[in-house]
Amino acid sequence: MRRTSLSRRTFLRGAGALLALPTLEAMLDGKGEALASGEPLPRRLVVFFFGNGVVLDRYLPSGTGPGWVPGEALQPLLPLKDYVSVVSGYDLKTPDLRAHHNGACGILSGYPFISLPAGSANFSSRFGGPSIDQVAAGRIGGATPYRSLQLGISKRAGPWEGPTLQYASHAGSDAPLPPTVDPVKLFTQLFSGFNAGSTTDPRAALRASVLDAVREDAVRLRARLGSADRVRLDAHLAQVSELRAQLLALPPVVTSACAPPAAVTTRNVDAGGKEPLTAVSRAMFQLLTLAFACDLTRVASIQFTGPVGDQVFSELGQVDNQHELTHDPARQGDVHDTVVFTFSRFAELLAQLRGAVEGTGNLLDQSAVLCTTDVSEGLYHSCTDYPLVVAGRAGGALTYPGVHLRGNGQNTSDVLLAVLRAVGVDVPSVGGGAGLSSTPCPGLLA
């Protein structure tokens, strides 16, 4: 049970006077390329995940190295091509025991999924280990009020086969992290602090003292529980600590990039049964960019659509469930359209990050953004020649301009490890079992 320590923004409001904390800008050195303390600018990690794969022959780039030419599906990334690398020809090495489950868990964590003993009950699976965003959150998330954020765009990821197919982020094998899918809710959570009440309002301090009492109750309960339940209660306590620190954190300090946003009004509510994927994406990307600029968090996952899922790309005029389309050879053109749509939204995320100034560069310069999916091609449930896009410069750690790396059956976890290393997560390996990698994909790192 450890408390979250916050390096800059946290302040115990109940303790007395308001301390003015240094802003990122104030902390920059003369060149704007690092903090005056000599520390480099923070790096950020985003995992962007979508369901049901791509149509490979309309996705794969041609040419390799920096001169690569995007396939049709990656055309939306053309304006950002220098920031984008594509890795192809890599295979998921975790055992392909169940379609979608293996891909979702294997590509997001590097671990094989775990089937739950079900007897005569429904099949469910859970992750075999933490997803890489949570590996990063454990290493680089502690400096900010939110160790990580989980965002969701489509609401159609179903609970029917357990958390592996429902959620992209997992703190561990028994700790799925559901996303926030409503921009208004995320806005309120992250930015209502800009309009914090007067410091004489005792509410925040009282809420914090309530959480202290909750902790005391939890410690007493913990002593009575078995070891497996203690692990769960410890996870609960860690969240209580993080919540407490967030309650007491100062409002974000306004800078040129971290300005109070206009109130967000986009709700993730269907109109006539249709999901507003584009509007919600844009609102979410804006909030995430601001959260990075204000240094509220450095790690995020975005589940655009769910593996299997029941999403319908209504904005494309489609009426069929995307997952069902992937299984129809005659409808692969429609599947491709959903992939283009997805990469169009992904491109908007990258553009948003690139548009946010930080130091002499922008947030995309300081980020690594991994974009991937739960099968290579839905039609075959394949796990070879896996779609992997890595964007951003990660403070110079990722190769720039971006390249196409054409592999020959290497481990997809090599890419995960490279992305983690790029954002300063110096772990010796990632994943486990057949998915384990201790060799970062060589061509990605600068």
Partner: protein, 568 residues
């Protein structure tokens, strides 16, 4: 890539060999053969529809380990309602629970609480407390008159009385001291006693002592066997049947030893089942068991189904709840859920079903037109629409539902590397009807093991389109809805299927298991087969009244006893 072979119609012979497929030789294709109550240790491969063995032939009861379990969303809401009233309950906004193995209660005993839940508990606890006391402190809530705004003794007395209800046991002095301090700080900050009470309540509603049903048990004589303590058993009973902390009468009865016997548990269970919260508990079970959550955000093609709307989906869900609630309220034979010829419809649903006598307002009981072969929940639009695609039906999905949720026969995974498109490839090759297209599943041995279990059932429901309306043909193509269920016979339409399922030995066994999973928050073990079978027998003896099986599960050894945590 697997190629579609020559076309055949659905071979009845494949259905005939089903017992062999289920019995063995097919592991990994259909998943492990589920352990079912009728299986003796030396069993041979048998028909999935084989009669249950008598209870005496089952292994002796061996209890299962305890796990702490978080309150489910609906349980949190109902708890706040009975503790603080409707306004407070309305202020609670929690995220969806995370299910495992088909039930949120199972997830709640295995998974760590999610950050969104911890955040929502905190916000909801404060919102509920604020809403509860918006008009001042309700009379009788605080057992003393405060001498001052921050009267510690009175706040402590309140923490003790409210904590006893919320924590479902006497509160320790340490806990009283913790919460009195919180209350005093708030009372002093605002200069108001009621604010002190408010923050004590807001705190207790997010305390793990409230949020977790944490059972430890006590030694029960036998080596290693534990029995739940009286307080733990009262809470388990009350949360199973009503989703609330034990009412004061149950607390007193538990303290007096009323729950020490099976008959005592039965009496208290019946009392709980009469509470309004018990209807919510049953509805929560129905909703999850029948996967009615599929109706949230269910997409249908407006071109094909112009009458479909989210409001209609909501009405479908209400129909199923009203229908099942009526069976319980009338004390009817619950097996009627499978083949009752009537249901509850509003005007839109009456039109969907072709019922001429359209209700003028609200939901009314109506009988289906006989020509639509409709009866039981499998004829409900809630299921037929929920288990279909936006435009097309899905016999596979419907059949899988019957196997998994009604027969407790989970279906395995598609084989790795299979061409998932071969179903539709068949349509290109000139196979026209859905039945003919699905036959491709059965020609490919790696697919047949599972699809034979699913497709046959679903094909018998092909007269119900993707929103659940009756259709005599599929866009001009004939529908041959005559199908076979295991060795039990042929059927066409939901009512005949329901009648076959009514006589399928697994159906009620599966219902009992599903109820037990919700009751204790885990999947049953082989060692619990005997008490579950005993509950099933008593269910039958009661004339299959649902409340009686709830009572019997609550009184069963599997509900009362446990063993120490397994060490991995």
């Amino acid at each position: 890539m697997l190629r579609a072979g020559p076309m055949q119609t659905l071979p009845r012979t494949v259905l005939a060999v089903l017992p062999l497929l289920l019995g063995g030789g097919c592991q990994g294709l259909i998943g492990e053969l589920p352990p079912v109550a009728q299986q003796a240790p030396d069993r041979r491969p048998e028909d999935p529809a084989a009669p249950l063995l008598p209870v005496e032939s089952l292994p002796a009861f061996s209890p299962a380990p305890l796990r702490a379990r978080q309150l489910l969303r609906w349980q949190y809401e109902e708890s706040v309602r009975v503790l603080l009233g409707d306004a407070a309950a309305a202020a609670v906004v929690l995220p969806a629970d995370v299910p495992l193995n088909g039930f949120a209660a199972v997830g709640a005993s295995q998974l760590a609480p999610t950050p969104v839940a911890v955040r929502a508990w905190e916000l909801s606890a404060h919102a509920a407390a604020e809403a509860a006391f918006a008009g001042g402190l309700p009379p009788g809530l605080v057992p003393c008159s405060p001498a001052a705004a921050d009267d510690a003794a009175c706040l402590g007395a309140f923490a003790r009385s409210f904590g006893r209800r919320a924590f479902r046991r006497p509160v320790t002095d340490e806990e009283v001291s913790t919460w009195t301090a919180v209350g005093r700080a708030a009372a002093q900050a605002y200069g108001r006693f009621d604010r002190g009470v408010q923050f004590v309540v807001a705190g207790m509603l997010q305390s793990p002592a409230f949020l977790y049903l944490a059972e430890v048990g006590e030694p029960d004589g036998d080596a290693g066997r534990l029995r739940l303590t009286r307080y733990e058993l009262a809470a388990r009973l009350s949360y199973f049947l009503a989703g609330i902390p034990p009412p004061e009468g149950l607390m007193a009865a538990a303290e007096a030893g009323a729950l020490d016997t099976a008959d005592g548990l039965r009496a208290e269970a019946r009392r709980l089942l009469a509470l309004p919260s018990a209807a919510r508990a049953r509805a929560a079970f129905f909703d999850e068991w029948l996967e009615l959550g599929r109706l949230d955000g269910l997409s249908k093609d407006p071109g094909t189904y112009p009458l479909y709307s989210p409001a209609l989906a909501s009405a479908m869900r209400q129909e199923t709840q009203a229908f099942l609630g009526d069976l319980v309220a009338r004390g009817a034979d619950f097996r009627d859920f499978l083949d009752a010829p009537d249901t509850f419809v509003n005007a839109d649903l009456a039109r969907l079903y072709g019922i001429a006598d359209v209700p003028a307002s609200g939901f009314q009981k109506r009988t289906y037109p006989a020509s639509t072969l409709r009866g039981g929940v499998l004829g409900h639009a809630a299921l037929m629409a929920g288990l279909a695609h936006p435009r097309l039906t899905s016999p596979t999905r419907r059949g899988r539902f019957v196997r998994e949720r009604l027969l407790c026969q989970p279906v395995g995974a598609a084989p790795p590397g299979v061409n998932a498109g071969m179903f539709s490839a068949a349509s290109e090759a000139g196979h026209v009807t859905l039945r003919e297209r699905l036959a491709v599943h059965l020609e490919e041995p790696s697919c047949a093991g599972c699809h034979v279990l699913m497709d046959g059932i679903g094909l018998g429901l092909e007269n119900y389109d993707a929103v659940g309306a009756f259709r005599p043909d599929d866009e001009g193509l004939p529908i041959d809805a005559v199908s076979t269920l295991d060795s039990l016979g042929t059927f066409a339409g939901s009512r005949q299927l329901g009648t076959l399922l009514r006589n399928h030995p697994r159906t009620l066994d599966c219902l009992v298991r599903n109820l037990f999973r919700v009751a204790v928050g885990r999947v049953e073990t082989d060692g619990e087969a005997r008490p579950l079978r005993a509950a099933l027998d008593r269910f039958a003896a009661s004339g299959h009244r649902l409340d009686e099986v709830l009572v019997e599960l609550a009184a069963s050894d599997a509900f009362r006893f446990a063993t120490k945590e397994e060490t991995p």
